[in-house]
Amino acid sequence: MCLAIPGKVTETFTKGGMRMGRVQFGGVSREACLEYVPETQTGDYVLVHVGFAISRVNEEEARRTYQALLELNQLTELDVPEVVEPGAFGQRGRA
């Protein structure tokens, strides 16, 4: 449960006073809080744990770690749908 999943930041934005981003993990995209890795930019790879980026990594490391987690069946948390806020249109979840 303490393992973090690497993904690519596809956009960054501010929401509710928090620095947030969209992170792509394989075919799945999730919103992630970037407050703990504030220097993160679009195009960076980050390790994300329960919706929070905790560390930046390089692309090669991201690819390898993702593959290792896949083999350990540790990506199932990405199957949980995102909670959509009232008034939001649609849901950008699993591709």
Partner: protein
């Protein structure tokens, strides 16, 4: 410094194993702390690749496993209430309490939901102002910053219908408890990589010096574990006891400062009970007084619930490296992942569940692993 360039290369694995064999002069017992490491070791048979005399024992680092039964019963008492939306990570839902699991409460009509992130609870609270949203805040230091942010944001934004049921534990006090036990066998540790991505490894240094024990912060991939083991064995053989970092491609000595800062502002250190082990002083977090209005235990008056664990289960000794899963007569017979008796069987990251999942309760699997080991290990 980068210790390995190609982490998945069998030749590299062979080379590391050969190097361990070359420098090893006596048997050593090494504990991997993190449940993710345990899972990876058992799945990939890393323990069988190692030379005879290097024994890996499996530590307490599975947060789902060590969440005490009474916290699960408290979660159930809260989740049953009609005014509550009870949220949790998926792996906590299957853990049985004294009477069924959280799934069974959902089937009885309770509003129990799996969330991806603690921040989802903030969205649910805003969308359901007539309900009380409660999050089961379980985890080690890796998860604490996420839960701290939920509470901090709720307070800042004046969202008053959200709270957390805190069962947060920390790795260093559990290592200290293992080392202080008169039955201790562990001589070196593979430290938890992603926990240290948050906390760094500064706090492990006084412990390593005090107990004269090597601690190597290690990743969870098979080659990380082999490399971390080599670094521990090298220290043991040379009579050194230091903290080293095998996982420098992910973390440094200081860890994630912004995360540490928010955790310290929301939580304070408290005594915590560990399933299978009992109470360990100053081994976890509780909410600071300023955040008492977000403490589900207070809000729903469940502090008094106290549950005892089945006595047949030896998970406490497994979590401290004194026993292995197959030392237990219940393992794979009356205790299985479908009907777990205790801590190490309740989650895929627990030692017993990992042994069971990868067939180690079967004679044929053990023979296969031993044949692999006798061929000299790494393929």
């Amino acid at each position: 410094m980068k210790y390995l360039d190609e982490y998945r290369d069998g030749k590299i694995a062979s080379r590391i194993v050969d190097e361990i064999r070359r420098i090893q002069t006596k048997p050593w017992v090494i504990m991997e702390v993190c449940g993710g490491q345990t899972h990876s070791i058992v799945k990939n048979g890393v323990d069988y690749l190692l030379p005879k005399g290097i024994e890996l024992v499996h530590g307490p680092g599975c947060p789902v496993c060590v969440t005490p039964l009474e916290m699960i019963d408290k979660a159930h008492a809260i989740a049953r209430r009609p005014d509550v939306i009870f949220c949790s990570f998926g792996d906590m839902l299957r853990v049985p309490g004294s009477a069924g699991d959280l799934f069974s409460i959902k089937s009885e009509g309770g509003d129990v939901r799996v969330v991806y992130s603690p921040l989802d609870c903030l969205k649910l609270a805003r969308a359901n102002p007539d309900k009380k949203v409660v999050f089961f805040a379980v985890g080690f230091e890796t998860t604490a910053p996420a839960n701290a942010m939920l509470v901090s944001k709720a307070k800042q934004d004046g969202v008053n219908n959200v709270s957390i049921l805190v069962s947060h534990v920390m790795v260093p006090p559990s290592i200290a408890a293992i080392l202080q036990s008169p039955q201790n066998r562990v001589q070196g540790f593979l430290g938890p990589g992603h926990v240290c991505a948050i906390m760094g490894y500064r706090e492990y240094e006084p412990m390593s010096a005090r107990f004269k024990v090597p601690i190597v912060i290690t990743g969870f991939e098979p080659l990380d574990i082999l490399q971390g083991t080599l670094m521990v064995v090298r220290q043991l053989e040379e009579g050194r006891a230091e903290v080293e970092n095998e996982y420098s491609r992910i973390l440094d000595r200081d860890g994630n400062r912004p995360a540490q800062k928010l955790v310290a502002s929301v939580f304070e250190i408290a005594d915590r009970k560990w399933r299978g082990v009992g109470s360990i002083p100053k081994s976890g977090y509780k909410l600071r007084w300023e955040y008492r209005d977000y403490d589900a235990e207070k809000i729903f008056s469940v502090k008094e619930i106290d549950t005892h664990e089945p006595e047949i289960c030896i998970s406490g000794r497994i979590l401290r490296g004194i026993k292995k899963p197959h030392d237990c007569p219940a393992f794979g017979t009356i205790c299985t992942p479908q009907h777990p008796l205790g801590a190490t069987m309740v989650s895929a990251e627990g030692a017993c569940a990992a042994y069971y999942t990868y067939g180690r309760h079967l004679e044929s699997k053990r023979e296969e692993l031993e044949a692999m080991a006798s061929l000299g290990g790494a393929a």
